[in-house]
Amino acid sequence: MVNEATSRRNREGASSTGRPGLLTLINSYFVRHAQTLFYSLGQLLRAPFSMLMTAAVIGIALALPAGMHQLLQNAQLLSGKLDDATQISLFLKKAVTEQQARELTHKLGNMPEIGRVRLITREQALEEFKQNAGFGDALRALDENPLPHVIVINPALQHTDAAAGRKLLERLQGMIQVDAAQLDVEWIKRLYAILEIIKRGVWILAALLGMAVLLVVGNTIRLAIQNRRDEIVVIKLIGGTDAFIRRPFLYTGFWYGLFGALIAFTLVNIALYLLSDPVRQLGELYHNPVSLTRMNLETSAYLLGAGILLGLGGSWLAVGRHLRDIEPR
């Protein structure tokens, strides 16, 4: 039979070049993928409004976790600066002179447990108060400077943990010149714990919203499959493989994911822009210049990647479930 077929085709003459060769097939495979990619984009752009609606839903769903992640990163950057502020304030006794305070500062600076020391003399402290705190007039009414000399100590890096900090604190408290010593570390630990909870929360939120994106894309593709039922039947009838039929739907999912991610990217950056001014003002109040960082290249790439993967995944689910149901009868 095969020979018969071949000879028949030969009889048909030179006009028949037969089936495409392997190289042509490989070449046309890539060409076809590219064509399908842009064909599915063209199909989407035919109804730009409904496409944008779906992409916007995906965008908002992606923007929530992405934006919170970005804020969290900013909070961590900020708390990183606070880490530096794990410091001990030594309030010296009133009787201690400035000369003695300087000597003590020098001595403390040489201790191995201590990283950095800084002396704030009572005069400096008073000046700072007058300038910044806004009660200059009240201070001027006083006969004498009520403030003590203060030595600000940053423990050496290997002594920043709570136990070592407390031990150092006890030693410093025992010194004869010291009136009181104060360690500010507990609240930072609490802040870290809170940040850890929020971080976990963002991941949970991201997982839930990721699932929502899968379902949104899946449902959209399911409707697209139903709308093109006739076309699928025809293609199956004339020998289209499942892969051939699947391809445009997968690429449609790809575009939804990509556009959704781009919308999310825009939304997050708009939100960061809107927040940047108030945050800067807040930082000024704390004498701490802070600014919100925008999404960096890595985070943006992750966002785009996540959007595309979710788009592809959602359409894959829909295609896998519904294409098999459509068979020519």
Binding site: M1, V2, E4, A5, R8, R9, R11, E12, S15, S16, T17, R19, P20, T24, L25, N27, S28, Y29, R32, D230, E231, V233, V234, I235, K236, L237, I238, G239, G240, T241, D242, F244, E327, P328, R329
Partner: protein, 226 residues
């Protein structure tokens, strides 16, 4: 080219669409499948195109035993067949050219080759020059000819037509049948399911007559006419 051996098809619910059918169609032969509606004509064509599987017996097409073809291989098998439907099954959101080109796109032909072959197929059915039109703007006969062009554009060995003239007036039907005959004359096996007895008699071709799922007669049109 097509060989049925004691083939039966029973649908769910116990309805026997075909029972114990045996016949053989030679390569390049043209034949009609006739009978009243419900006699099993469509089922017979569906078994050949692997749209249905037989319950018993076997079907051989081009030397291939269809029961050995797995689900994944069906698309590749169907590429050797051209199928024509009563309702044309055209895609109305695409031009005539794109409709006819579909089998070639699926098989992975190059752009240039597709253009050449589509125009050749449209020329054969007398629709050259309408390639940029949309099917909805064409008459019923023209739409059917687009369907034929699509069925033959990839030069299949076998052409199946299920009631291809069902909705056409006698002149157009005759025209369509003559197109089929031309294909059979260049070596394509043609099997047409139809109940247009008058036209079939005119064609003087082999008839496979089904009656309630059974083979009632298998012979030439001349015999049938007598």
């Amino acid at each position: 080219m097509i060989r049925f051996t004691q083939t039966s098809k029973r649908y769910e619910g116990g309805y026997d669409a075909l029972s114990n059918i045996s016949f053989h169609i030679e390569p390049g032969e043209m034949a009609f499948v006739t009978g009243h509606s419900g006699a099993g004509k469509s089922t017979l064509l569906k078994l050949i195109a692997l749209l249905e599987r037989p319950t018993r017996g076997q079907v051989l097409v081009n030397g291939q035993n269809l029961s050995r073809i797995k689900r994944r291989q069906i698309p590749y098998f169907r590429r050797n067949i051209g199928i024509i439907f009563q309702d044309h099954q055209l895609l109305f959101d695409r031009t005539v050219f794109d409709n006819v080109a579909l089998p070639l796109i699926i098989a992975g032909y190059t752009r240039a080759e597709i253009g050449r072959r589509v125009r050749a197929a449209l020329d054969k059915v007398g629709l050259l020059g309408k390639e940029k039109k949309y099917p909805i703007t064409l008459s019923g006969g023209e739409q059917q000819r687009v369907g034929i062009a699509r069925a033959v554009v990839h030069k299949p060995l076998l052409l199946l037509a299920d009631e291809p003239t069902g909705n056409l007036d006698p002149d157009l039907s005759r025209e369509i049948m003559h197109i089929f005959r031309e294909f059979s004359q260049v070596g394509v096996t043609v099997l047409v399911a139809s109940h247009d007895l008058e036209l079939i008699r005119e064609m003087q071709t082999r008839q496979i007559i089904l009656h309630q799922g059974q083979l009632a007669d298998d012979g030439s049109g001349v015999e049938y006419g007598q």
